[in-house]
């Protein structure tokens, strides 16, 4: 700025520091709690300095919540969801933007309307269909032909079950649609002049051009998928497919046990780390992804 405003600058710094305490304070609490012993963590007033039990607590949380497989499951789920969403978004938007059929409007609106059906409001029937994906198919076939099939596909307790129901993406499709719309028509015309088929054009030209979009979308979708809670919680009854977010709930100090907040916080710390790293390290892409999907 041009003018000198020392008092206002000081006030600005003061507010920003208070804000920083507000934001980082909880992180610091989680961290210090996870380094303390059981007695320290339950001391009143709370001691804001770290203790010496960090590794011990990390280990305890890791074993108690069985975080090894859970973190792996979360990682697999997050990566599959992320990749799936990018693929779906890019091809769906391609179908909407680069072809002229009246049906594309219907398709666009069908995708758009899913925004109004959050999981929370259709949770029981979604669970049912995940247990028996072909139920509507059987129903349709029976209604149409009177033939009864016993075709079944159960998604409960599988990676497909973790991924498929949350992979459809309205926001991703919008993002890609918007990106395609900003590309000049000349690009398409030139490609057509060169005799490129649509598939070639999509793979050779559009996808490479959308790299930045892809990265931006990837960061937000990874965070989104890693932080999924309700669906994995309902869907997995077998420990083999539990995700980290669900495993964390076993660390809540419960009725008949000691208030081991140090272990709880150590577990929370481990579980919140991957998305935090994404946001911290790839912040530019993450911000870009968020801002562009919501516009």
């Amino acid at each position: 700025m041009i003018e000198r405003t020392p008092i206002l600058n000081m006030l600005t710094y003061f507010i920003m520091i208070v804000g920083l305490l507000l934001i980082l304070g909880p992180f610091w609490m989680i961290f210090t709690a996870s380094t303390q012993s059981l007695a320290q963590v339950n001391a009143v007033p709370f001691n804001l300095l770290p203790g010496a039990d960090f590794l011990h607590n990390l280990q305890a949380a890791w074993h108690r919540a069985n975080l090894g497989p859970a973190m792996l499951n979360s990682l697999i789920m997050a990566l599959l969801v992320m990749a799936g969403k990018i693929v779906l978004a890019s091809i769906s938007a391609f179908a909407i933007v680069y072809f002229r059929s009246p049906l594309r409007h219907v398709f666009f609106w069908l995708v758009f309307m899913t925004l109004m059906l959050p999981l929370e409001v259709r949770v029981v029937p979604t669970y049912n269909i995940a247990a028996d994906v072909f139920e509507p198919v059987r129903w349709l076939i029976q209604a149409l032909t009177g033939i009864e099939f016993s075709l079944q596909w159960n998604l409960l307790n599988s990676y497909s079950g973790l991924v498929l129901p949350v992979i459809a993406t309205a926001t991703g499709t919008f993002l890609y649609r918007q990106f395609y719309m900003t590309l000049p028509d000349e690009l398409t015309e030139a490609a057509k002049m060169d005799g490129a088929r649509p598939l070639r054009f999509f793979i050779d030209i559009l996808l490479p051009l959308s790299r930045t979009n892809m990265l931006a979308l990837a960061t937000i979708m990874f965070v989104y998928a890693w932080n999924q809670y309700l669906w994995p919680k309902l869907m997995t009854t077998e420990a083999d497919y539990q995700t980290a977010m669900v495993a964390m709930t076993t660390l809540v100090p419960n009725i008949n046990s000691l208030p081991e907040w140090n272990v709880s916080m150590a577990g929370a710390l481990i579980i919140m780390l991957p998305p935090l790293i994404i946001v911290a390290v790839l912040q530019r892409w993450f911000v870009r992804g968020l801002v562009s999907t919501e516009k």
Partner: protein, 445 residues
């Protein structure tokens, strides 16, 4: 209508995503139960014993961490046709199961699989809870209990109290003495309707619902807002306000059993099933005892209600699993298993032969088990009457939630006792009406 069995390899679709389970030689089947902590470990041991006892079947026992959760998860799984073969359902969930059409009756299962069970061997009071009107068992009694009164003898001695409280008047007097002797929490209680509302009503011969607690029809209505339950909660509220009684719930950080075991509270009411856990977790050397729930002075005491749970066999499983399930249910009904189970937990034996075996072994004379016979005394104090044989009300698990909600309002909020109970009854009746409509046309058998 034609039926095509299309052998479609669904796994082909799931390649790369789904996991293929390894083929096991033994027939595996699942058993979901609601016990956790120490009792959960005991169930696990039971399953291990069964698996070690034979080589044809393998039972996989999974705790769902709580009775309400077990029935919820079993229903969700049943709707999705992924239910376990055996599920443990608590007492008040009995009617929900009975009308569901989702189970194979116990007697039929055992007959189909060639087991001869002496059904008369189950204690009458227990069996009646889980049987139809003709006395045929729908499910297998597994863990049976009743509510008891625990007190800390060391604390009593220190406060100069002699003997167990027999009446609630005694409890009040003892609480005052304990308080002046420096005990911060003389009596701890939670918002569990089982002891405070249901068992209290039974031993005071008060109805919980019309139509003999629902046994005579689905058109029953809750009435505990017009009975002695009102006085009882008013008494609890007064004592709480004076600091003599304290609320101990999981949400506040400590439930009644740990509160007693850690000697935070000197008196509690809880299931006889916790006898084993308390004995294991209380500081060694502490003197404590268990007795029947107190009654109000001048009350003619009735028998208390059978609590606990039974095992239901659900439909939708392959035939081979039912053979395994029958083998397991037969296994746990053997006298030596009944005896072992009752010893390591605090549950009362469910069969006469099991009980006899325990008596013959001098079980009840052993100091660490002393007091457990009081549970049987409480259950058989009088023959089970119309108001003391059980509760057969649809949706009762949800009604319990309404009761504990109302108690939260009464003890934490600004609700009066009457308003709280009225609310629980009104909302509970709505649940019953919905249940009645849902199963309209079905009669209680």
């Amino acid at each position: 209508m034609k039926h095509f069995g299309v052998k479609f390899a669904a796994m082909a679709l799931a390649v790369g995503l789904g996991a293929t389970p390894a083929l096991a030689e033994k027939v595996k089947f699942e058993f979901w139960h609601g016990l956790s902590g120490d009792l959960g470990e005991r169930v696990k041991e039971t399953c291990d014993k069964f698996n070690a006892s034979q080589s044809d079947y393998e039972i996989v026992c999974t705790s769902q961490n709580g009775y309400p959760e077990t029935i919820q998860n079993a229903i969700a799984a049943y709707r999705a046709k992924k239910n376990p073969a055996i599920v443990q359902v608590f007492d008040v969930g009995t009617l929900d199961l009975m009308l569901s059409g989702a189970y194979i009756p116990a007697k039929k299962l055992m007959e189909d699989n060639g087991y001869k069970i002496d059904w008369g061997n189950y204690f009458g009071g227990i069996a009646r809870y889980y049987a139809d009107s003709k006395g045929v068992l729908n499910s297998f009694p597994f863990n049976s209990s009743t509510a008891m009164f625990y007190y800390n003898i060391d604390a009593f001695t220190k406060a100069g109290i002699d003997g167990a409280p027999q009446t609630w008047e005694d409890v009040e007097a003892d609480a005052r003495k304990l308080k002046s002797a420096g005990f911060d929490c003389p009596f701890g209680f939670s918002f569990d309707s089982w002891a405070t509302v249901e068992q209290f009503s039974a031993i005071h011969n008060q109805p919980i619902a019309t139509k003999n607690n629902g046994y005579d029809g689905l058109d029953t209505e809750l009435v505990f807002n017009k009975t002695k339950v009102v006085d009882q909660l008013t008494f609890f509220k007064k004592m709480t306000d004076e600091g003599l009684f304290q609320v101990k719930t999981a949400q506040l950080g400590m439930d009644v059993v740990p509160a007693f075991a850690s000697q935070t509270c000197q008196m509690i009411q809880s299931s006889i099933a916790d006898h084993g856990t308390i004995g294991k977790t209380i500081k060694p050397g502490t003197k404590w005892a268990v007795t029947m729930l107190p009654v109000w002075k001048g009350t003619e005491r009735k028998n208390s209600l059978v609590g606990g749970a039974s095992l239901w066999v659900l439909k939708n499983r392959p035939e081979a699993e039912y053979k395994g399930a029958a083998a397991f249910l037969n296994f746990i009904a053997q006298p030596d298993m009944v005896e072992w189970w009752s010893t390591v937990t605090g549950y009362i034996p469910v069969t006469k032969t099991g009980f006899d075996a325990m008596k013959a072994n001098g079980f009840y004379e052993k100091p660490q088990f002393a007091g457990r016979e009081k549970a049987i005394e409480s259950l058989t104090y009088t023959p089970a009457g119309d108001l003391t044989r059980g509760i057969r009300v649809g949706g009762f698990p949800q009604i319990r939630k309404e009761i504990s909600n109302a108690m939260e309002g009464i003890f934490f909020g600004k609700m009066t006792v009457q308003a709280g109970l009225d609310q629980a009854v009104e909302r509970g009746n709505a649940i019953i009406r919905r249940f009645e409509k849902t199963y309209a046309g079905q009669t209680l058998n």
